[in-house]
């Protein structure tokens, strides 16, 4: 049986989630040794945790605050962490719950109408029209090499909230769909559908950023 500790203040909102252990189905992270200290578990994750926070918030100070709040939550709830389960997923769940508690916007909003008709393989078609599919080159690289990290992050920020959080988790960390579902507290099927949809929309957003920055010629600006 899991014990849910009492938390004061804003951390109260994340307490129920912290008590939910996540089973380790990771393909990349082994289960942790039972007696490993919190320092050893947490510190190696801070880079990726900060990366997730920064990509979600796009503000360094807010991102630092979010990671600190999550670290504090991890300290206070560490007694509820079950050795042998996935610490990284446990900590990222705390982090995303802190994010939702502090920065939640319109979580249930649907994607903008203009993205509803985003065709499959949007960038594939656009880069083909641009003449980038000439062997032996990599057309995806040829396009994305024109965009820097911040421009890509700006495109990611254009996703509707519920698509953006699952996508950011996906791009920052190699969680399985099942782990992502556990972190966000949503069904695996929802993770799958949001992620697939988000990728399609993101391709259009990336193309839009490339057009706005003048990185692709006017002639192939937009496909129907």
């Amino acid at each position: 049986m899991l014990v849910v500790p009492h938390y004061a203040g804003s951390l109260g909102i994340i307490a129920p989630f912290m008590a939910l252990a996540l089973m380790d189905h990771s393909r990349t992270q082994p289960a942790v040794p039972a007696r490993q200290g919190l320092d050893d578990l947490l510190k190696p994750l801070l880079g990726r945790a900060y990366g997730l926070a920064l990509r979600l918030l796009r503000n360094r100070a807010d991102a630092e605050d979010l990671v600190q709040e999550a670290a504090l939550g991890a300290c206070r709830g560490y007694a509820t962490f079950q050795p042998g389960t996935n610490f990284k997923a446990w900590f990222f769940r705390i982090l995303t719950n802190c994010y939702y508690a502090r920065h939640r916007r319109q979580r249930h909003e649907g994607p903008p109408v203009e993205f509803d008709e985003t065709p499959e393989l949007y960038l594939y078609s656009q880069t083909a029209a641009l003449g980038l599919h000439q062997p032996p080159g990599d057309p995806a690289q040829a396009l994305l090499n024109r965009l820097d990290s911040e421009q890509i992050a700006a495109a990611l920020l254009g996703l509707p909230e519920e698509y953006r959080v699952v996508s950011t988790l996906y791009f920052i960390e190699d969680f399985s769909y099942e782990q992502t579902a556990g972190i966000l507290g949503i069904p695996v099927g929802t993770v799958r559908s949001r992620l697939h949809r988000a990728r399609k929309i993101l391709q259009k957003l990336l193309w839009r950023v490339a057009v706005e920055r003048g990185l692709v010629p006017e002639a192939v600006k937009e496909r129907a």
Binding site: E120, D138, Y177
Partner: protein, 86 residues
């Protein structure tokens, strides 16, 4: 694998995202791979999508952890240790 067991282009396309994320069963992974090995168009689309994902992951992960944050979390952890050590 017989012809009846093989995926069509459409069936592969429907599974492309899950294939890229290794979220299919081993049998499905094998059937998609078998198709990609023999269909140039699907292989081209798969290679493109895989490259997009790889590039996005690579660029979005390029973030340096600020020393200030490391210090602050270190202080939080040290404070959390104190009651145990006393």
């Amino acid at each position: 694998m017989t012809a009846l067991d093989r995926y069509t282009c459409e069936e592969v396309f429907r599974r492309l995202n899950d294939y890229l994320d290794r979220e299919l069963s081993p049998a499905e992974m094998a059937m998609v791979k078998e198709h990609l090995d023999t269909c140039g168009q699907c292989a081209s689309e798969h290679a493109f999508e895989a490259s997009v994902l790889q590039e996005l992951k690579s660029k979005l992960r390029r973030i340096d952890l600020p020393q200030s944050l490391l210090d602050k979390v270190g202080a939080i952890l040290a404070e959390a240790r104190l009651p145990e050590e006393q």
